[in-house]
Amino acid sequence: MTFETVIEARGVTKVFSTQRGLFRRRSVGARAVDGLNLTVRSGETLGLVGESGCGKSTTGRLLLRLIEPTAGSVLFNGRDLTELSTGELRSSRRQMQIIFQDPYGSLNPRMTIGDAIAEAYIIHGIGDRASRQRWVLEMLDLVRLPRSAVTRYPHEFSGGQRQRVGIARALALKPNFVVCDEAVSALDVSVQAQIINLLQDLQNELKLTYLFISHNLSVVRHISDRVAVMYLGRIVEIADVDALFTRPAHPYTQALLSAIPRSHPDEPRHRHPLTGDLPSALAIPKGCRFASRCPFVQNRCRTFDPPLDPTPDHSLVACHRAADGTLPAYSLNS
C-alpha cells in the first residue's frame, strides 16, 4: 500500500537550554524531542500518546514550526518547512492549524467570537469585510454554534462551546492538517463526546488530516487510525490502532495500556506495573531510554539504543527484544 504523506519529521530534535550552577554559568540542555522520525498520512488521524513530559506537545509544535527545531527537518507536502522564508512559511501555515486544550485560555476574553474567528482572515489578508462576515457565519454553522454567537464574548459560553469556537478558528483558513493538542482533555465526558463526534464529522466533510495528541488512551483509541507512542522524546512504537491496542509490542506500550482504568468493575485487572519515574530529559540514559523501568531489560538494552524498526505486522517498534522475538507474550486477559 502506498500513502500520500502530508507531513514528515526527519530526525527532529529540540533541546531547551536552561542555565544551571553557580551564577548560572553552566548551560544544560533538556532534550524534549530527540531524533524523532514520524510520518502523517493524508486523511488519517494519527494519535500521539505518552505521559507528561514525553515531548508530545513539543512534537506538535515542531511539526507546525511554531518552535524551531535544534536539528532535523520537517517536510510539509514534500517541502522542507525549516528552509522556507517567512512569507512562504506564512502561506504554508494556512494549511496547518492547531486546536489547543484550554479553549478559554486561547480565546481573548475582550474579543467577540465573530472577531476571534475573523482574525484568522485579517492576519492572512484574505477577503473584504463583507466576505469575512459571511465566512465567519459559515464557520459557526460548521461547528454547530448559533449564528447569534458572533457578537458575544467567550465568557458567555460553556467549555464545550468555547472549544467549538477554537475549532472554528483553526478551520477558518481551510487547512488540511490540524494538530489537536489535548483538544478534549479539559472537557467533561458528556461534552467531550460531542466534540469528538464533531471532530470526526469535520474530518469527513473537509478531508482533514489530524495529529491527535492526548494522554487519554480511550479517546485516542476511539478517534485514531494509527497511534504513535512516545517516551522521553522518542517514538517507541507506531501501529494501526487495533494492532496497538490488542498486540502492543513495546514493553512501555504494554505497561501504559495495562494501567488504563477498567471499564467495568468485574473486568480482570492485569497490571504490568512500571517501577520508578521517567528519567530526566536533562540526563537521558545511554542505550534504550526505557531500560531503567523495563521489566524485560537485558544487558544490551543498557548499551545500545534500539532503532525504530518495522515488525512483521507493519508496525514500527524500538525494542531489541521485540525485534528478535524474545519478549514474553503480552495479554491483558491472561
Binding site: 505521559e51 507528561s52 460553556s158 467549555g159 464545550g160 462551546q161 467533561d188 465526558v189 458528556s190 461534552v191 467531550q192 463526546a193 460531542q194 469528538i196 463526534n197 470526526q200 494522554h215 488512551l217 480511550s218 479517546v219 483509541r221 476511539h222 478517534i223 491496542f245 505497561a255 501504559l256 495495562s258 494501567a259 488504563i260 482504568p261 477498567r262 471499564s263 467495568h264 468493575p265 468485574d266 473486568e267 485487572r269 497490571r271 506495573p273 512500571l274 519515574d277
Partner: protein
Amino acid sequence: MARPILEVKGLTTTLAGGTITILEDVSFGLQPGEVLGVVGESGSGKSMLALSVMGLLPKAVRRTAGRIVLDGEDLAALSPDRWRERRGSDLAMIFQEPMTALNPVMRVGDQVAEVLRRQGIPAKKARQETINLFRKVEIPSPEQRVRGYPHELSGGMRQRVMIAIALAANPKVLIADEPTTALDVTVQAQILDLLRKLQKERGLSLVFITHDLGVIAEIADRVLVLYAGRVAEIAPVRKIFDNPQHPYTRALLASIPEIDRPRGRLVTIEGAVPSIGAMPKGCRYASRCPFRRDICEQESPRLGLVSSDQAAACVQPFGFEKPQEEALA
C-alpha cells in the same frame, strides 16, 4: 447493615447569602470499611460535598441545612474548634494537586511528623513512625526521602506523602478528592493500587471523589452520582454499571469511549449542565433528558428507592418502565 460511620442527611449549601443553591438535599451513608465513589462532572458540587463534610467550606458558601454525623456525633452541631479536633483525628482528606496542599518550605518528613506530634507522640518516635508510614505508602528509600522537599518529588511521590499525612492521624474516614486526576495513567494505577491495599489492610472507610467512571470501576463499592448539586443515583458499583436507573447515569456511561467497544459515534448528552444560579425549577437534568415529561419541568423528583440498595431521583426510573434503547443510542 451496620451503623454507618459517616452519615450525611439533607445537606444543602448556598452561595451569596442564600440566593444560589450549590448542593441541595444531599444524603448518603458510608459503611465502615466501605469505598463510596462520588462521580460527577464539573459543577456537580462534588468538591463542595467533600469540603462540607470536612467543615472547610469557603467563606462565601454556607451550609443552610443538613446533618453530618460522624460515628454518632453531628459535626455540624459542634463548635468550629471541636470540628477541627475531629478533623485532625477522625477525618482526613487528600486533594487533587499535592503540590499546593504540601508546605513547599518544609521537609516532607516533618509534615508527616507534625501530625504525629500533635497526637502527643515524642519527636524521636514520630520520626521513626514517619519512616514507617513512608514505607507503608511505598516510597522508596524512606530514610532519605523524609528529608526531601516537595519540589524534589514527582507528582506520584507527592501524592504518596499526602496519603502518609492522612494516615498519620489514623482517621476513621478518609476523603479523597480527585487524588489521581493530575497524575499520568501509569502513576494513577500505582496510587489506586496503593489506596486499595491500604483500605483493605486498615479497613479504611473512604469517600472517593472523581469525574472518571473508569476510576470508579477500579475502586468503589458503592457509587453516588451527583448532577448539578443533587444526588441523581446511588447504588452498588455493579448496579451502576449494569443497571443504571437514572437517565443521566446511563448517558454518562454511554458517552465514554471505551477500549473494548466498537468504535461508532459516541453517545452524547446534548446541551450542558445548567449554570449555578440558573437552576431550573424541576428536575435539573430535564433540559437534557430524552425521556423528559411535563412533570419533570414542574417539580424536582425526590430520591426514591428502586430496589433495596439502589435509589434514583427520577419520576420514572428505568426499573419501573423499560425505556426504548433507541432513544439513547
